[in-house]
Each structure stands twice: as C-alpha cells, then as structure tokens.
Symmetry: C2
C-alpha cells in the first residue's frame, strides 16, 4: 500500500522467471492504456549490447558500468546469467515527486532493495513451464540447457512486510495485461473495483456509486457530490451519480461508462482508491480572477492543477477560461507560462542549445516541419519536435509524418532518436499534451474564445519544460487565419518574444501569409508527396513550400554558433540542395521506425474547374478545409485535394482549379456535389 | 395534439358531470405540481355570487354580464342550471403566446367552442354515481332531486376530430390528480412516458434514454447529446445519458431521477414530447458578450430564454454570467432589464400608480416589509408585494409572513387580495421567480460573482412586468453586507434610479446602515413578534425597526398625490399610531388566508453573555446568521435568536448579549457550543 501522504511514490518491482513475459506486459500496458500515463518505466542497465534483442534495456559497457558504480549513479546493481545489471539512482527523485516507477528486476535483489527503505511492492509474473519454454526458445538467445536451467526457478516469496502480487501470464496477452493492470492498481492502493455500467455518460467524467457505498455520507456532505480517484498515482475527480439498486451496482464498486473507461484507459475489474473530493485549492485564485484581479504563478498553478484534475465544475472552468480570454496582461502570460510548465512533460538535454519550430496553425498544407527539422538536424542542431494530429483540419504534421514512420514515441524513445539523428518529428499526444489541454480545449473551442494570448502560455510552457532554448514561431495571418490582421499578429509576435525573453528563451515569431495554402496537397498522402519532392530537389516541387521551409530553417540556423549572422538561409539551402537534409530525414525515419509509404492518392479523383474566366482573387480557406475533410482526410490518408491553380493566377473557364481524391466513387460524388454548391476560389474578371 | 409550430397554445376543456371533482383536480394539480407552472387556469364567469361556495369562478351580475356580452369580452357563453356562464375572450391572447389554458366548461358547449377553430382538446373527468352523489350532497347547494337529475348525464363523446381523454376520478384524490396530469400531458402531445430510474443525478437535469430510442441517431448527431422536452407547454432541455439495458429502461421511455421528477414537479408515467435539442439561438449573442461586446435587448433576451430553458452547457452559462458580473454598462443594464421583463410574470392593474418596496437583503432581522405594506395600503396606495423565502439566511419575509397567512398565492389570488386590501405580502416563488433565477443562482452563488449590477436588472424587470410605477429600494451597506462600502452603494443607487427612469419607473434607492441587525428577533417567530409589537404600538416595540419601516413607508407616501411633498413620514406615523396599519394588516392576512399564530419561541433557550466588559464595537453579521441558522431557523419557525444588547451599548462581563431559542436541548447545546467558539459581538474595553 502506498502512503496516504503524497507526494510519495511507489517502486513496483516486476519479478518472475524468464519467459513469463514481464517486459511485454509492462511495455504493452504502458503503451496501450492511458491510465498508466503517469507511471515511469525505468530501464535496467545491462552490460549487454543494445541490439541483442529480448528485453528492453539500456546497454552499458563493462568499463562505463564500473565508472557509474563508483560515481554513485546506481540505486542498486547485481549479477545474473553472466551479465551485470543496475537500476539508476534517480529513481529516488521520481519517487519523491510521487510517481509510480516500474522496474524489471531479479527476484534475488528484492531483499536488498527492500533494505533501501523505499516504498515498494512486488508484482510476480508467472507462466507454466511449457509456455515459458516455448517463449524462450523463440528468442534464440539461449541454448536448451540454459532454458531448462531457468525453468527450475519457480517457488518464491517476497521478503516479509512487502506487498506481493502474482500475475498468471499463462493465457493470452490481453488477459495477461489486464491481470497485470489489476495487480498494479492493487499495489497502488486500489480497493474499489471498477464495474462497467451500461450507461453512456458522454464526455462527462462520472463515477457511479451505490447509495450504500461507505463514502456516501462523506461525499453527500460536500457542496457538490464528487469523488477523487487515484488512478495508478494520478488523482482525478469524478462527478458522482448515486445508484439505488444493488443489481445494477454493488455497494463496494465504482461504476463507469464505457466511454469513461476508454478515455481514461481503464479496464473493468481494476480497483481504484477513492476519497471524497477535497475542495479545489485553486478556488480562491479562480474567484480572484473572475473579479478582475491578476494572478501570479502560484495562483495560476493551483487553478491549472485543479482543472487538470477535474476538480472544478464546468461553470467555474468556463468562467475562468472566458476571463483569461478577455484579460491576461503580459506579466500574467509569463506567470501562466511558468505555472503550466510545472505540469508539462520535462526533457533534459545536456546541450547548450536546443532549437524548435512551432506554428499557430490554421493554414491548410503548409507542412514545412518535415523539411525544416531534417535541414536543421543535418547541420547538427538539436531539434526534438512534437506535433499535433489534426483536430478540425484535414491533416496535422503528426498525421503526415505517421505515413513515413512511427510517431507515437515516449520520452525515452525521443531521447534515443534525437541522440542518433539530432531531431525527431513525433506526435505530441504522449509527449507534451496534458490533461489540462483536454479539459480546456473542450470548453475553449465550442465557446469560440479568443485564445491567442492563452496559447502563448500553452506553447511556451511546453517548450520551456522540454528544454528548448531557441524557438521560431510561424504566425500565419489573414482574414481566415487564427490571427486575422497584422495588428493582432504584431501584438502576438511581441508578446511571444517578450515572454520568451522573460523566461530565458530566444523566441523569433514570424508573421507569414495566411491567405492561401502553402504547397499543393491538402491531406496526409498529398502533403507527404510535396515534402518528398522538396527534400528530393525535384524540379516540380512546390516553390512556396520550399521557400517557406528554407526561411524557417534559415532563421533557426542563424542562431547556430558556427553560422555567420544572416547566413542561415544560405546554409539551409546548401543542406537541402546537397541532399544532406534528405539523408537526415531518412535517418530520423529509420530511428523512429520506418513505415512502408502508401502508393498513390485516391484512387478516385475528379477536378473542380473554373466556372468563369478570371484572376484568382481570393481562396476561401475554411471552405477548402471543409472540402478536404469531406474527402475523408486525415482518417483516410490517401484522400485530400490538390491545388492546381494559385492565388493571383489567371484561369480560363473550364480550366481545373483543384483535384479531389477519395477512396470511393460515392464519397467523390458527394464531395463534388458539395464543392459545386459554392466557390472556394473567387475569380475576378479582368 | 398541439401544433409543432410554437407559439401555438392549447385550450384544454375540462368537462364531466357534477361531483366528478373537476375543479379540485385542476386546482390541486396547478397548486402542487411545478410542471403546471406555465398553464393558465381560466375561471368561468358565472352569474352567481362569489361566496356561494362550490366551484371556483368569477362572479358577475346579470347586467354586467349583458354589458360584457355586448362589448365582445367573451370567447363563448352558455346557460346551465338556471345560471349564465362565459369564458373570457383574452384566452385567444394566451393561446397566441403559446400557453396551455384550462377551462372548466359544460359538455354541451364543447361543440360550439370547436367551431371557433382554436387548438383544443377535451379532458373528461368521471366518477361513479355513488361517489358523485356523495360529493354533491356535501356541497349543500342543491336538492336531492337536482343531484339525481345531474347524475343521469353520463355517456358523452367529444365532437369528431377533437382529442378526448378520460380521467376516472373515482379512487382517492392523489390517484385522480396523477391521472389528470397524465391526461393533460397526453393532450399536450406527450408520447414518451417518464420512468423513474434509481439513479441520483444531483442537481443536473439529465434525461436517460435507451440506445434504442427512435431519436438516438438524431440526438447523437448534435454537438452534445441533449433532448428538448415539452412539459405541458414549457420547453426544457435535458442532457442525455444513454442506457444500454432494456431491463433498466424501455426503448420508448425517458428515465428521470427522483430529484429531477421532484424539481420539475413531474410524476412517473406522465408522457413528454421529445425532440433533439435545437442549437441555442442565443449562442452568437453569448459569444459576442464573451468577446467583450455589449448586447442589446434582443440579444439578452435570446440568451436569457436559452439559459431558462437549460439550452446552454454549464461552461457557457458560467462564462456568460462571469462576463456579466465584470462588464455590464449602464445601457446594458437597461437592455437586460427589458429582456428579463419579457419572461417575468406580468400583472395588470388599472391604476395610475402601483408602488413597491424592495431590499437588497443580507441583513438579519430588518423585517420592515410586514409593517411598510399595511401602512401604505392603509393610505390607499396599491402595493402588491412578493418576497423571497430564506435561502442562506435564517428567515425571509415570506417565511415570516407565512406564520400569519398563506403566502403561496397565484396571480389571480394576488389580484383578489390587492383588490380587497390594496396590498399583499406573498411568496415570490409562484409569482415573480423564474427558471432563469434558478439556473443563474446555482452558478452565481458558488462562484461568488459580484452580482450587484446584474441584480438591478433582475429586480427592476420583475417590478416592470408586475406593473410597478414607483419603487423604494433598501440598500443596506456595511463591510458584511452585499454592498460593502458607500462607494459601491452610491454607484448602485444611481444605477437603479437611472435605469428605473429609463424604463419609466420612479425609483428611490436608500442607502441604510448594514452594520447591525434591525429589530431584536432573528428567525420567523421572533421577527413576527417584533412586527406585532410595532404594529400594535407596544411600548417595548423595537425602535430601530419602527423607525426604518416609517422611513420607507414615508418615502412611498411622499409619492401619493394626496400627501404633501415631504409629509409622507408624518402620514405614515399617523397610520401606524392610529391603528389603521394594524387593521390593514389583519385585512391582508384574512384575504390571503389567516393561519393560527404559533405561541412562544423555543421552548428551549439559553443566553450568551459578554466574556468581558466593554462597549459593543462591532457585530459580526455573518456569524450571527450562522448561529441563527444553527438553531434551526427558518425551517423550525420557533427557533432563532433574540438580540439583547445593541451596537454601541456598554455591557458588563456576564451580562447577556443575545438569547438562543431551539426546539430541543441537544440543538441548544450544539448551538451554544458553537457560539462560544468565537465572538459575534466585539467588545472594546474603555
């Protein structure tokens, strides 16, 4: 059982015989179940080459191991099967911050670790001899006699006073993972099992409890019935609805809707730890803000934490966010940035300079990130880029990159890729996206709040936590962009740069043309094609995309110590033209995990033509986005649209303006019909 | 079935043989079930004296009836049992405004009414011969042969094409009312029966529907799953939670929690009319306000309607109210007042001058209303006063008045009382309180928003709708009052008076001392005692209460055309001292429905004494309120506290400061213990 006084984490030692499937269970549980997002998996250090296959580990040479041992870098170390193993000493820091840490260790060191007097529990993963023998033989790492030797070690009991949970991983993988999660939840103090109730509560986080639940009276005494659940170390508050029928819900269980299970990445049967939700500590700060006062970092931090933990009702959160949208002075943006950085994922780089590039978005196409990162990385700057998936647009950078490589990387893998190729292009969902983002997006978007100033804090806090020292920001500006005019763009540019400066970060915000798409394709596959043409220096590569990418890469390279001021763009051009950028891109793709590129877009396509002759005066970005979404992008990665004509160009009646790609004729018909109900291209007769 | 195009009301004709209990069912349904709050009960006009007993009606002389008939004041008229009957013509206006109107009519006129081509339905209330004979004989209005004659009329069928529902009122009254409500709901188009689900959803308005409900797909296509239900003509939006188990909820039903049934005054089995909730028409106006724009009357009106109908999610409503609390310019207060007046209950008085008195409240005791109204009414001014019950305080004016007389009067009864006694003191719950108040109070209070400027619109809109022409407002001001300082009080005074002027209402706002209670008693019974002492000119009547009441009555009388300017207070004093005010109070009490006054407070009591000697420097109003609430007031009307010492007075150690009254020794012990944990009276040593 973990202590009742957070922050006090738990070190969960995963033990079990070879072939029981410890590593697989741990990795799959952490990769596939969002409930584990606050859990830290610590890799063992082993004196075995990294590419030797089998269990995941951090490889270390014998001599490095000796050095680390002397400098106190290990929490504990041991020998097994002729190799040397260790756990890193910084686990202590994670535990002090209240985190749950998983470590795959040998049973024989459990007693020694117990002597360290850390809060620990043991989960023993087991499987029958037959199953283990079968698994071990497929590893091909050991001889049959080795395998037989391992299979003898079976009966084992954790030292006295240490909680010991057993997981039988002898059935299929999913059963094993579920049993593992349940054992983990019990180790973390969970005692109230989750029961799936056949009620769909929509996006609202509701926990159903029996009127006869032991906490009933204590929860009803609250101003509003809310329960705090501990999900493997992450606190979260659920609104309570009471059930008065034991056939529906047993008095000792907590009922959750399927959507809640899936949103929180929980499974039925997992026990949670419950307590009446304490009042939000940020309530006084929130009320101060509503009454027009300015908040400082600590005040913002309390509110941000409470919103992330769902401690406020929606009326309070809505009122707070509307208030931020209207009144957030420059200093408050700085304070809010610092407060948000506290909950952002931290990354540490032992480099004096870590660069990044960010776009305020809203512009279709404009997929320059996949060109900028390899150029900058090819020069040798560190650029760990985390991008979003599309939410309302036809593609996000992560959607397009996902065609080339795996983008769902955790912090350890990001470190590995960046160490190997100076840069990465990964999805921000596991890296920099926070529960606070989910909670606020669900309110800011439907209310259409002016979130520009808030977003400065959002962006910079994540960069700050991720160790970024130099940042270039793209501010597409135009009547249909997030920044509607030069005035707003200028205001935001100055705010970004000054807040960055106050936080010790060099920020350069560039106001760019947000009146038309950049590049030709809109949709993952078509954008990927444009990017490959630019990286490959193909003659028909979209010029505007190439130019914009070089501008941004150049701005970043201007900061490089070995590039003369103002010569960044020249250097960028050289890296792109000479093929170094392309080679670097391939290196990044390989390290992230290469995927087979899909072939051609479509296969169905149709052209939308000019209804009259004239000069293209205006492109309706919103309409173009809608049309591109209707083709099926980004879900259907082969769908999208391809611009044929550009703004300012003269077209004759009947000449194609853009081409639609869909995966079915019926979708194509529907999109064409919609496209013909209006004009995405406005033609001016000359 | 009512039309799908509101506003288009429904005239429900209630027919049935004498003794079936039509009037009783209608009256009880309307008095006891909040779901009927939008239904209008039209009283028949009968050429029979008003005090003749039996069914409720508006009495009219034969000659007045003839005149009204000639001037077209009747929708329809008929003869029965030697009397003449009629329905008022203004029913057409109510129907045009989409209201459901109930009318008790003779079966033989249904055909004639049908020819008027209004939307009508018929509910026939029946009972067995035996039961009807029994009921009729207790009326004592008719002879046995009359009764027998009536009991012959039984079989009857509404004319073709008119919906005809039958209610068997032959069991007990509650069963009859439930059957009547179900028939009424069916007449109003209800087709989805309410099923009580054993889930407590708290204050949230949730409708449970089966995943297999016919509207599932249409509702799921909405941005958020919400259903609009029509409750006897009142639209209301419920958040939808889906149930995936036919044993819990049949696919054709709507599940509601017990608390929802009770809040909306619904009963299980009543059918509702459902449709996917259309998007709130006020959403653009709400967003404009969130972005800092000012709104006009129409925009406010759309948002106010949508909030009252629960069309917005809480985040939107919270954001909107927080925005109003921070930014509401003077003109917006006027526009908001006009918008809110549209949904307020309207009252019409054919008098050039209708006065009223309002208090911003927050001060314990200070129950001057029960003194001011009779004084002003005794002079001859019309003063129809609607007051609140206590929400967080130990008593509201309506709580105290409820000791003397019935306060739960509807508009018709208010008119009757005021016509008879010039004034009334009734609960505002059925008169001027709106669903919008419920929705906003639930957010403004927990968020502790500064609602002072909003409340000007709230107060004045109701007075405007109620036909008030002259209003005096009490603004108690002090560090613990709603208005904390003179600056805020002055600002609000000027706002109230100028907004009133813009709306054609004379408003005088008086800033009063809000640093200590007025009167001695706190709690319904103790306050009633103080009031009777003042009205009875008893020598030990609390001076401060008498003075404040005379000030406010005087201010109102200053406006009377037959009182010389500045002589209002003198006139008020004469009316009070001479006993006219007391007599008028008794008249009001009689007309509202006199109640037997409970005897003495308590019976348990204890004194809290001065811990040291000194001058009473400060009285902690909040603490005093808490202590008074702890005694059980206002629920326990005999509980409360009595001030013995006043601010500024010198007391010796051990001398009593105030006396607590409770209904049990254990409560008394608990309150005393709490009272001794701190000092409600601050003593300054001299």
């Amino acid at each position: 059982m973990r202590s009742d006084n957070p922050p006090c984490g738990l070190l969960v030692l995963i033990v079990g015989p070879s072939g029981a499937g410890k590593d697989t269970l741990m990795e799959r549980a952490l990769a596939d179940y969002a409930c584990t997002q606050h859990i830290i998996l610590t890799r063992r250090i082993i004196t075995r080459p990294a590419d030797a296959g089998g269990e995941d580990h951090q490889s270390m040479s014998e001599s490095d191991f000796d050095t680390a041992l002397k400098t106190g870098d290990f929490l504990i170390h041991w020998h097994a099967h002729g190799l040397r193993y260790a756990l890193r000493a910084d686990i202590r820091d994670d535990l002090a911050r209240g985190r749950t840490v998983l470590a795959n260790v040998s049973r024989k060191v459990v007693g020694t670790i117990a002597e360290l007097r850390l809060p620990i529990a043991v989960i023993e993963v087991t499987a029958s001899r037959e199953i283990r023998a079968q698994r071990l033989s497929t590893r091909g790492r050991e001889t049959t006699s080795d395998i037989l030797g391992r299979l003898q070690a079976l009966d084992w009991q954790a030292p006295n006073g240490i909680d010991h949970y057993r997981v039988d991983n002898g059935v299929d993988l999913n059963t094993g993972i579920e049993r593992f999660l349940i054992a983990l939840a019990r180790a973390c103090g969970g005692d109230t099992p989750i029961h799936h109730l056949p009620i769909d509560t929509g996006p609202r986080l509701i926990g159903f409890l029996s009127l006869r639940h032991p906490l009933h009276d204590a929860i009803q005494a609250l101003p509003a019935p809310r329960v705090e659940v501990d999900i493997l170390g992450r606190p979260l508050v659920l609104e309570v609805q009471w059930v008065d029928d034991d056939r529906w819900l047993a008095p000792n269980a907590i009922g959750l809707a399927r959507a809640t299970l899936s949103r929180l990445g929980l499974i039925a049967g997992m026990p949670l730890q419950l307590q009446p939700a304490p009042p939000p500590v940020g309530a006084p700060a929130l009320r101060r803000k509503l009454r027009g006062h300015s908040l400082n970092e600590d005040e913002f931090s309390s509110v941000v934490h409470d919103i992330a933990d769902n401690r406020f009702d929606e009326a309070s959160t809505g009122a707070f966010l509307a208030s931020l949208a209207n009144h957030l002075n420059d200093n408050e943006v700085i304070e809010l940035t610092r407060a948000r950085a506290r909950i952002a994922q931290t990354l540490h780089w032992d480099r004096p300079m870590v660069v990044d590039k960010h776009s305020m978005g809203g512009l279709p196409g404009s997929r320059i990130t996949l060109i900028v990162i390899p150029i900058v990385a090819a020069h040798g700057l560190i650029i760990p880029k985390a991008s979003s998936r599309a939410i309302t647009s036809p593609a996000g950078t992560a959607d397009t990159m996902a065609l080339f490589a795996d983008v769902e990387l955790g912090p350890d893998d990001v470190r590995r890729v960046v160490n190997g190729a100076n840069g990465c292009i990964v999805w921000n969902g596991r890296l920099s996206h926070t529960p606070f983002d989910d909670m606020t997006n669900a309110i800011v978007r439907p209310l259409d709040l002016d979130s520009a100033r808030m977003s400065v804090a959002s962006i910079l806090s994540k960069k700050l936590a991720a160790g970024v020292t130099h940042l270039v920001v793209d501010l597409p500006t135009g009547p249909q962009a997030k920044l509607q005019n030069q005035g707003k763009a200028q205001e935001l540019k100055q705010l970004m740069e000054s807040v960055g400066a106050a936080l010790g970060m060099r920020v350069l915000a560039r106001i760019t043309d947000g009146t038309q798409p950049v590049g030709r394709g809109i949709g993952p596959n078509l954008e990927a094609r444009d990017i490959l043409k630019v990286l490959g220096n193909e003659p028909d590569a979209p010029r505007d995309l190439r130019d914009k990418a070089l501008d941004f890469a150049g701005a970043l390279l201007d900061w490089a110590p070995d590039v003369a001021p103002g010569k960044g763009r020249v250097r960028a051009e050289a890296l792109l033209s000479g093929g170094a950028a392309k080679a670097q891109f391939e290196r990044i793709v390989d390290l992230q995990g290469r995927r087979a590129l899909p072939a051609a877009p479509g296969p169905f396509h149709a052209d939308i033509t000019a209804p009259t002759s004239g000069r293209i005066d205006h492109i309706d970005i919103w309409r173009l986005n809608s049309i591109a979404r209707l083709t099926g992008a980004p879900g259907d990665t082969l769908a999208g649209l391809d611009l044929i004509a550009n703004k300012g160009k003269r077209v004759e009646v009947g000449q194609p303006l853009y081409r639609l790609y869909t995966s079915s004729q019926s979708t194509l018909d529907r999109v064409v019909a919609f496209a013909l109900t209006g004009n995405a291209f406005e033609l001016q007769q000359e």
